[in-house]
Amino acid sequence: MHEEVAAYALGVLDEEDIEAFERHLDGCESCRRELKEFAEVPGQLDELKHLPSASEDDPPRSMSR
């Protein structure tokens, strides 16, 4: 359950898991601490959207290299 804190902080936890995780959060000091820390992460990842892609017109490349 603890590991769900990352998905929760990023807002990607599935709807049906959210309530159970919030109940866990009520009783879990370490997840509350990590939620505070991870709350910064979406804003940091959003910075990537301000970067122009070097070659937007190229065909998409595979994620794996």
Binding site: H2, E3, V12, D17, E22, L35, V41, Q44, H50, S64
Partner: protein, 184 residues
């Protein structure tokens, strides 16, 4: 106990008046900062951003018995809830904002020298420093607005594995950013 939510009991003639006051207090405390945060993710759509803030505050009020936390944790909770409302809203509108497809981290242009581009470069570097498995789950969830189960299906791995990789990937990302002096 959170001072924002805890000092109101027993001062109101009706439950409605108390609810109204609690919502007003939440707005006063968190409304402005929340709006500034949300505007970015709504592509500067002020009307939409205001709706999201309102819904977030109402949910916070409904959860106020639960949210007996200190303000910084309430703030984290509000950000998470607001972000989720924005993502759900995008789906309902079926409007995919143009920036939803993230640039591939290893194809990024030279920064233009602004502070923003600089920190974007640092974040891109941090992402690139992660293992393939960790980078992949961050890309397939947050950066593409997908939930855990959607990403699990695309990647062909169990949802539990996605959650776990996301957790350790985010920890590694934070560590890298902390080394660069970006994160607290």
């Amino acid at each position: 106990m959170c001072p924002v939510l805890s000092h109101l009991d027993g001062r109101f003639e009706s439950a409605d008046a108390e609810a109204e006051h609690r919502i007003a207090v939440l707005y006063q405390e968190f409304g402005g900062p929340l709006l500034r945060h949300i505007r970015k993710s709504t592509g500067n759509d002020l009307q939409w951003a205001e709706d999201v803030v309102q819904e977030t505050i109402v949910r916070a009020w409904r959860n106020s018995a639960r949210l007996q936390w200190e303000p910084s944790l309430i703030w984290a909770w509000l950000l998470t809830v607001a972000r989720r409302i924005v993502i759900d809203g995008r789906r309902r509108r079926s409007v995919r904002p143009h920036e939803v497809e993230p640039p591939e981290v290893d194809m990024l242009a030279v920064p233009d020298g602004s502070e923003r581009a600089l920190s974007a470069i640092v974040v891109a570097e941090a992402l690139r420093s992660l293992s393939e498995e960790h980078r992949e789950v961050i890309e397939q969830t947050y950066l593409r607005d997908r939930t855990i189960s959607e990403a699990a299906e695309i990647l062909g791995i169990p949802p539990g594995t996605v959650k776990s990789r996301l957790y350790y990937g985010i920890r590694a990302l934070r560590e890298h950013l902390r080394d660069k002096g970006v994160a607290g």
